[in-house]
Amino acid sequence: MIKIFEGAMGTSLQAMGIADQPCPEYASVKYPDEVMNIHKAYVDVGADILECNTFGANPLKLAQFGLADDTEKINIAGVTAARRAAKKGVEIAGNIGPSGRLIAPLGDLNFDEACESYARQIKALASAGVDYILFETIIDLQEMRAGVLAAKSICNLPIICQLTYDAMGRTVTGTDPSTAAAILEPLGASIIGMNCSLGPEQLLPLVRELALSTTLPISVQPNAGLPFIKDGKTCFPLTPKEMGYWAPKLVEAGATILGGCCGTTPAHIKAMKEAVKGMDPIARTILPAGVRLASRSKSVWLGKGHPTVLIGERINPSGRKAMAAEIKTGNLTAVKREALIQVEAGAGVLDINMGVPGMEQKKLMGQVVGELAMLVNVPFSIDSVEPEVLEAGLRAFAGRALINSVSDKAGVKEKVFALAKKYGAAILVLPLGEKGLPKTTGERITIAKKLIAEGKAAGLKDNDFMLDPLVLTVASDGQAPSETLNTLREYGNVFGYPTTMGLSNVSFGLPGREDINAAFYALALASGLNAPIINPCNAKIRMMTETTNVLLGFDNQGVNYSKNYVAAKTIPVAAVTEEDVLGALAGAVMCGEKERAAHLTLQAFAEGHDPREITAEALVKGMNIIGDDFGAGRTFLPQVMLAAEAMKSAFDALKTKINVEDLPCLGKVILATVKGDVHDLGKNIVGALLSNSGFNVVDLGKDVEPEVILAAAEKEKPDIVGLCALMTTTLGAMGETIKLLQQKTTTTIMVGGAVLTQEYATEIKADLYAADGVQAVKLAKKVVEE
């Protein structure tokens, strides 16, 4: 049987004019009979589950109305109104909506504060006797996690988790239905679903997606279509009949509980109830075997039948002094860089270890997990031997993490299993006994079996476990790698859980470690390794992953492999003959080929070309062509700047052979961004182009007082003073500066900047106006020629 929720409460309260006294939830206290009657209207048309008028009755939200102290009273009144309306067999869900604030680091609400707020509301709802805890219209998964953790800490009631998705099928903070399932099912949700924002038609594909991703029942409460406003009132387009039309389709897609959100009325609920009468939930697909990890916006399968997933190992300060030192100063740049680089190199999961000696690891782990989750979208493996450090990471991670790891250590393993259960994390089982390293496959299997049984007793399930076969050093025990590979195979036979291991230990003490590691990696993959903990940036590992993915059938017919192979091939550069070295150099400047420009400059010099000839016939020539192309709109500023870089590198090369004074100097230019303006990129571009065209540039910086510019002009006696302003608000300062310079000097004044025009330049009596850097160089050359 398909169960039916009641429809909208808020819109009914609004229609009765009691929704804003001062908030909809307070109507249960002030107008209990009216609220009861709204419920009753839904009971009369066959609603199976009522939703209490407690959507915004969490203390954080109530505080906005000065009602936080009445949290218990309002929630209990809400449950009472529903209870009074309910007939026998009708259930009651304690309805909980968003707190109205986003949890850090997305917003300013502390995770613990969110948990406490929800816990207080849930305690009141549970004590008043609801049958379900229903979270709905939640837009951020971390807020849902806070709610579920709070609910689990208070009661054993079934938890319904409904997120709100947009037309692209994601929540505001990026979660898709499949990822939501990957996180919420192990976290302890009893029913997963969606409500609000979209109509039934738009939710249908999302229900299908969810049905393929979870074994739990699915609840769906669409709006009566997308709202519009008519005569100042919010209206919803779908009629009861139309909602009835979509109801069976939602059931066929996998929904087991239906209801209505904004804009639905008893008539809509009646139509839906009748439309699904006699229908049963569909038989659902069984999820694939393996472990699923997830970040807020992405889920990853690990295990047999899934492509190899690389777990990036490089966020680990042990043995990396520079990284550890940087972390100690509070700087996480190195950690962030490692995260970005590893993900770019193909890591599907990132292992995070914050074992920095002398640091409070617990706090650091929470901070790093929070910050990295804002940067990359892969799931994390939280790596620590301290349960409280693990917990800090698990709490901060808005996803389903892997715990790395648990071993047979009494007093610790119990805590780690409890953490996995509490936070819905997967767990890596390390078959390490208290007696030390087990040498044989048999011993390892025995310990793993014991740990898995204990984990299951703590509430974990088959799809929560991963196994490590233990990698020992071949240099100290020649049979160790064989035993590891054998253990991998036996793990497959006995448990079938996904496997992981750190590879590099195998080659310790031997030369050519990369080759040994790569060979061992290939053997391990063939023996059933699914997700190595590895440096994904290592070229050999990358090659081995790509090639084995082809051979193991995960990259069908090697399509991706071939694509990457072609992309990696470099194009050979033609040899340059003596005759065309200057032409080639001009070409290198135009193409912004720095190294080639330097190389060709030295070649030209060695062949006897004079520095002036090299400058005029190659460097300036190339720069002029690119400048003309820029003026004509054929090339763009970044290309011009690349050409300037190549020119700089050519000059730098030349300076190694001759005295700087022997290089031609066209003239002197002072540059400054005027007072009040803190932009200096534009001025720097002009400076770079001028100095690489043979001018001596004196750069005074940004936000420069007129008097400072005057003093510099009097001292340096330049051919030109170039002034820059990027904002309309600083054009006045430019005018002042020109006035002062013209009173005291005869120097030529050139102006430029995004907001300047020829008209304005004329108005403030500038001598020259350059629309861009290339033109500035042309004008400057003209001035010195004259």
């Binding site: 906005q64 604030r101 986003l102 680091p105 997305l106 917003g107 300013d108 837009i139 709100t164 947009d166 505001v172 903070t173 990026g174 924002s197 709006n223 997308l226 709202p227 519009f228 406003i229 919010t234 209206c235 904004c262 807020r296 916006s297 740049t333 962030k336 860089r337 970005l340 989750a373 804002m374 940067l375 990359v376 979208n377 912004g592 090339t635 763009f636 500023l637 970044p638 290309q639 700047m641 690349l642 300037a644 870089e645 700089k648 590198s649 009040g676 303006d677 803190v678 932009h679 200096d680 990129l681 720097n684 571009i685 770079a688 904002m727 309309t728 608000t729 600083t730 995004a754 025009t757």
Partner: protein
């Protein structure tokens, strides 16, 4: 009458910087031959150096008098037109912090001009992405009330003078995200923006936006000629 409004903070997740937009802000308008590796590097550096924050506040708006919150009177004709039909507006600000600017300067000074230029452009793309993420979040919040948001409109667009930043910044509470206004009415960190969006009913008239509608015909970022 001025009322104190709730200051809302939102730090959006940016998993990447839009490379196509970065190229556009760097002045590369069309598909051209340029080493993609430099664009990629610039975006990576911005990913590392950015500190994305946004803030927003909801205000009443009287479209007859053009007054926000009863005390800021809009004089820009383009903005008055843009907000016509709105009874409420959201004033917002977004920043990516000053680390990006330090990085841009550093590379430029090292002679990596193109990289410095592109970091600056990528930071612009990032702050726009942050503002877009905020608007997406707000759109989702208001859609259930039948309310849609107009496009973002910032000081400097059309005839809305940059001078107005002085009046807008305090209403946006820019200091809540570490943004300050200089005497010359510039936002610091430089890669910061303020903007207004109008809240409109879906039945309201369609206020078109974009370069084609903008009255500032000499804008260097203009997409249509």
């Amino acid at each position: 009458m001025t009322t104190v409004r709730q200051i809302n903070l939102f730090n959006p997740i940016l998993n990447n910087i839009d490379r196509a937009e970065t190229k556009r802000y760097a002045g590369m308008g069309r598909s051209i031959h340029f080493p993609e590796a430099i664009v990629y590097e610039a975006c990576s550096i911005v990913m590392l150096e950015k500190h994305v924050k946004t803030v927003w506040t909801l205000y009443d708006y009287d479209c007859k008098s053009g007054c926000i919150n009863g005390d800021y009177k809009i004089v820009s004709k383009a903005l008055l037109k843009h907000l016509s039909g709105s009874k409420q507006v959201i004033l917002m600000a977004a920043t990516v912090g000053d680390g990006v600017e330090v990085a841009s300067k550093k590379y430029f000074e090292q002679g990596e001009y193109a990289l410095g230029l592109l970091i600056d452009a990528a930071a612009t793309a990032a702050v726009e992405q942050a503002a877009n993420a905020l608007c997406a979040m707000l759109t989702a919040q208001f859609i259930n009330q039948g309310i849609i948001l107009t496009a973002r409109f910032s000081p400097g667009y059309g005839d809305w003078s940059l001078e107005e930043q002085e009046k807008v910044a305090p209403l946006v509470h820019v200091t809540a995200i570490g943004v300050k206004l200089t005497n010359a009415k510039m936002l610091i960190p430089r890669k910061s923006i303020t903007a207004v969006v109008g809240l409109q009913t879906t039945g309201g008239k369609d206020n078109k936006t974009g370069c084609g509608q903008c009255t500032k015909k000499d804008c260097i970022m203009r997409r249509v000629k």
